[in-house]
C-alpha cells in the first residue's frame, strides 16, 4: 500500500521525526536508498527469474536432446535388430532363391554339356563303332564253347568277368550290413526283445492285416507260383534270360507277399535271425571260395577240373549254375531282410 504524497509533511510524521531526532532530509535520503535497493532487489529478482528460466530452458533442451538421443538409440537398436534378423527373414529367402537359380543353371550347364557330348559320340548301332571289337566278337562267337552257357550274359558276368560280379554281390552284402546298423533293433542277451523292440512290434500289429481272407487266399495261390518261378529263373540262368539277380528278386517278392498275408509268426519258421545269418553267409563264402579256386587255377594255368557238361543241359556250364544259385539266395535274403528292417527293425 502506498502512503499519501504529503504523508511526510503530516502532523503525525512531524511529531515522530521530532521524537526520533531526524530531519526531513534524512528521510528523503533513506527513501532514496530504499528506492535504489528496491530497484536493485527488483533487478536481482529479475536476474534470478531469468536464470531460473534459462535453467529450465536448458533442462528442457537437455531433456529434448536426451529424448532425441534415446529415440536415435532406439532407432539404431531397431535397425540393428532388423539387420540381425535380416538373414532369418529375408536372407534365407534370397539365398534360397539364389541357390535355386544357381542350381538350375548348374544343372542346365551339365545337361547341355552332356547332351553336346552325346551328339559327338559314335552313332548308335553302327557296325564300325569302336565297341564292336574283338572282345565282343569273342563273347558272341566263342562264348558257348568257352563257358558252356547258352545264355551269353550269364557266361559274361559269371565266367569271363566273374571278379566284377564277385565284387557286386559283396556290394549287396555291405549294403545290407549298413541298413542293419541303422535300423536293426537289438534283442537282449537271452534273446528276448527289448522294450523298444516290443513297442515297435506292437505298433506293427496295427498295420498287420489280421487274417484278411482275400489277401490270404490270393497269397495262397500266388506265393508258391511266384517262388517256383523265381527258382526256375535262377536254375535256368545259364540257359535262358535271367539268372541269380533277377530270380532272387522274384523269390524275395514272393516271401514279402507271404509275410504280408500270414504275418511274421508263420514266416519265422523259415526266416528267423539264425537262419538268415546262415543262408546269407554260406552262399557268399561258397562264391568267394569257388571263384578263388577258379581264379587261382586260371592264373596259374592249371586244369580246374570243373566239367562244362553238354551245353543246353540243366547240369552244364561249370560253376555258373551253383554261382547263380548263390547269388539268387543272397538277393532274395537281402530283399526280405530289407523289408523286415524297414517295417519293424529286424526279424
Amino acid at each position: 500500500m502506498k502512503p499519501r504524497s504529503d504523508y511526510e509533511l503530516s502532523l503525525w510524521r512531524r511529531l515522530v521525526r521530532f521524537v526520533d531526532g531526524e530531519t526531513l532530509a534524512d528521510v528523503e535520503r533513506r527513501a532514496e536508498e530504499n528506492r535504489v535497493s528496491d530497484a536493485l532487489s527488483q533487478k536481482k529478482v529479475d536476474v534470478e527469474a531469468e536464470t531460473l528460466f534459462e535453467q529450465q530452458e536448458k533442462e528442457d533442451r537437455d531433456d529434448r536432446k536426451r529424448r532425441l538421443e534415446m529415440e536415435h538409440q532406439k532407432e539404431a537398436e531397431e535397425l540393428l535388430e532388423k539387420y540381425k534378423n535380416w538373414p532369418k527373414e529375408h536372407g534365407v529367402k534370397i539365398f534360397g532363391r539364389l541357390y535355386a537359380i544357381m542350381a538350375v543353371l548348374l544343372c542346365a550347364v551339365i545337361i547341355t554339356t552332356l547332351l553336346v557330348t552325346v551328339s559327338y559320340l559314335p552313332e548308335y548301332g553302327s557296325p564300325d563303332n569302336p565297341n564292336n571289337n574283338e572282345v565282343v566278337e569273342k563273347y558272341n562267337k566263342e562264348g558257348l564253347q568257352d563257358t558252356g552257357a547258352v545264355n551269353n550274359v550269364a557266361g559274361m558276368i559269371l565266367d569271363y568277368r566273374a571278379f566284377d560280379t564277385l565284387g557286386e554281390s559283396h556290394v549287396l552284402f555291405v549294403a545290407a550290413v549298413c541298413v542293419m546298423i541303422l535300423l536293426r533293433l537289438e534283442l537282449t542277451k537271452d534273446g528276448k526283445p527289448t522294450d523298444t523292440k516290443r513297442a515297435e512290434e506292437e505298433n506293427d500289429r496295427l498295420y498287420e492285416p489280421k487274417n484278411d481272407k482275400i489277401l490270404q487266399l490270393s497269397a495262397k495261390i500266388l506265393v508258391p507260383v511266384i517262388i517256383m518261378y523265381g527258382i526256375y529263373v535262377v536254375l535256368n540262368g545259364h540257359l535262358s534270360p535271367g539268372g541269380g539277380f533277377s530270380g532272387g528278386a522274384i523269390i524275395g517278392a514272393g516271401l514279402i507277399l507271404y509275410v504280408n498275408a500270414f504275418g511274421f509268426e508263420k514266416a519265422k519258421r523259415i526266416m528267423n535271425r539264425k537262419n538268415y545269418a546262415v543262408i546269407s553267409v554260406v552262399p557268399l563264402l561258397f562264391y568267394a571260395l569257388a571263384k578263388g579256386y577258379s581264379f587261382f587255377t586260371g592264373a596259374n594255368h592249371l586244369e580246374s577240373g570243373i566239367p562244362k557238361g553238354t551245353p543246353g543241359n540243366i547240369l552244364s556250364a561249370g560253376l555258373i549254375l551253383p554261382l547263380n544259385i548263390c547269388v539268387g539266395i543272397v538277393v532274395a535274403c537281402t530283399m526280405y531282410h530289407f523289408y523286415t528292417l524297414f517295417r519293424k527293425g529286424g526279424m
Binding site: 559320340l121 569271363y160 565284387g167
Partner: protein, 497 residues
Amino acid sequence: MDFVCNFPFFCIVLCLATGVISSVLKPKVAKVVSVTLVSVCLVCSFCVLLYTVETGEAFTYMMGHFPAPFGNEIRAGVLEGVMATFFSVIMLLAILGGEKYIKIDVEEPKQNLVFVLINLLLSSLLALVYTNDLFTAYVFVEINTIAAGGLIMIRSNGHCVLASMKYMIMSLLGSGLLLIGITLQYDLTGHLLMSNIKDSIAVLAANGEYTVPLTVIIGLMSVGIAIKSALFPFHAWLADAYGYSTASSAAILSSLVSKAYIFLLIKIMYRVIGTEVFWDSKITNVFFILGVAGMLFGSFSAIKEHDMRRMIAFSSVAQIGYIYMGLGFGTELGMVAAVFHILSHAATKSMLFVACRGLSEVSGNKKDFSDLKGSGFRNKPAGVAFSVGAFSMVGVPLFAGFISKLYLTSAALETMSVKMAVAVIVLAISTILNALYFIRAVISIYTPRNEHYRDASFRPGKTFCVGMVCFIVINFVLGLASFPIINAIEQGLHMFS
C-alpha cells in the same frame, strides 16, 4: 609265374571272405580275425613290393581262365606294392590304436559289424590299388563308398547319422560322375582294360578325333574323384564325418579312403588317359587352382574351430589341397611330390585322430580346446604322438611333413611359370597358418589345467601305446629315410607309363 604273384589276389579274396564270416562272429573273435587278416595282407603286400623291386617290372595276373581284354586282370608294380603295404600298415595301426574306443563308442551287438566293414573296406582299397580294369575299379569304389558310410554311421548318434547322410549324398554324386565318365569312354574306345584304353585314346588324340567327348570324359572322372576325395569346394561332408565318428573310422576315412581315390585318379592319369593327353587337357590347372584355394580355406576354417577333432578334419582339406596342387603341376616331380604327400599325410592324420581321441578320453570325453588343456600330461603317449603329428603337419624338419613340403616346393620351382610363384607363396602362407592352429593345439594340451579330470588309476591301453609308437616311428622313417621311398615312387610311376 612265381608264387608271389598270387598274393594280391589272395589278399583281396581273403578280405571279402573274412568280411562275410565276421558278420556271424562275436566281436572279440571278429577283432582277432580282422587284425590277423590285416597283418597277413601287410606281409603279402610287402612281399609283392620286394618282388617287383627285385624283378624291376610290373606283372599282371589273370583273374580266371581268360586273358586280359576278355576276362578281368589285376596288375602289380612297385607303386602298387608301396601303396598296398602302406595302406595295410595304417589300417592295422588304426585298428590297434582305436580298438578300445570302438568298444566305448559302438553298441555291443554292432561291434562285430565294424570289423565286417573294415575287412570289406580293406578289400576294396587293395582292389583299387591293384586293378587293371576300369569297371572293376568302379565296383570296388561302390564297396568302398558304402563301407565308409557305414563306418561313419556305426557310432549311432544323431551327428554321425547326419554326417553319413551328407557323406553318402556327396560321395554317390561323385560315383555317378565317375560311372558316366567310364561309360562314355567305353563308347569311344570299346575297352574297359586300362592298357587297351590308353592305346586307343593315344590313337584318337593323335588323329584329333573326338576331342570334345574326350575332354568331357577327363572332366567327369576328375570331378567325380575330386568330390569323393574332398577337394576344396566339395568338402562340405568332411568335417562332420571325421569330427564325430569313432577314432578308428576317422583315421581310416581320412588317411585311406580319400587317398585310395586320389591313387585311382593317378592311375587314370597314367594308365587310362595317358599323361600327355591328360596334361594337355588343362584339367591340371583346375586341380592347381582348387588345390591352392583348399590350402588356404581349409586352414582358415581350422583356425576358427574350437573343437579339436573338427580342427584336424579341416586341416585335412588343406592337406588334400597340397596333394592336388602337386598333381596340378603336371610334371613328373609334381606327381612324385603328390604321391609322397599321400603317404606322409596318411601316416600323420591317422595318428592325430587316434591321439586326439586318447586325449579326449582323459578330458571327460570332450573335445573342446578348453577341456583338453593339460591332457598331454594326463595321457602321455597320446600327448607325444599328437605333438609329433602336429610338428609333421606344420613341416618341421625331421618329420614326414617337411619332406613332402620340400618336394612340393622343388616341384614348384621346376615348373618355371606363374604356377611357381603362386605355389611357393601359398605354400609359405599355408605353412604359417598350419603352425598357427597346430602349435596352438600343442600348447593348449600342455598347459597344466583341468586337474579335476586327473584320474590316478588311468593307464593308456597297451594296443594304444603300440599303435602310437609305430605311428611315430613311421613318421620319423618317412622324415629321415625318405630317399628309398622316393626312389620307389619314381620307379613305380615310371612303370606306370
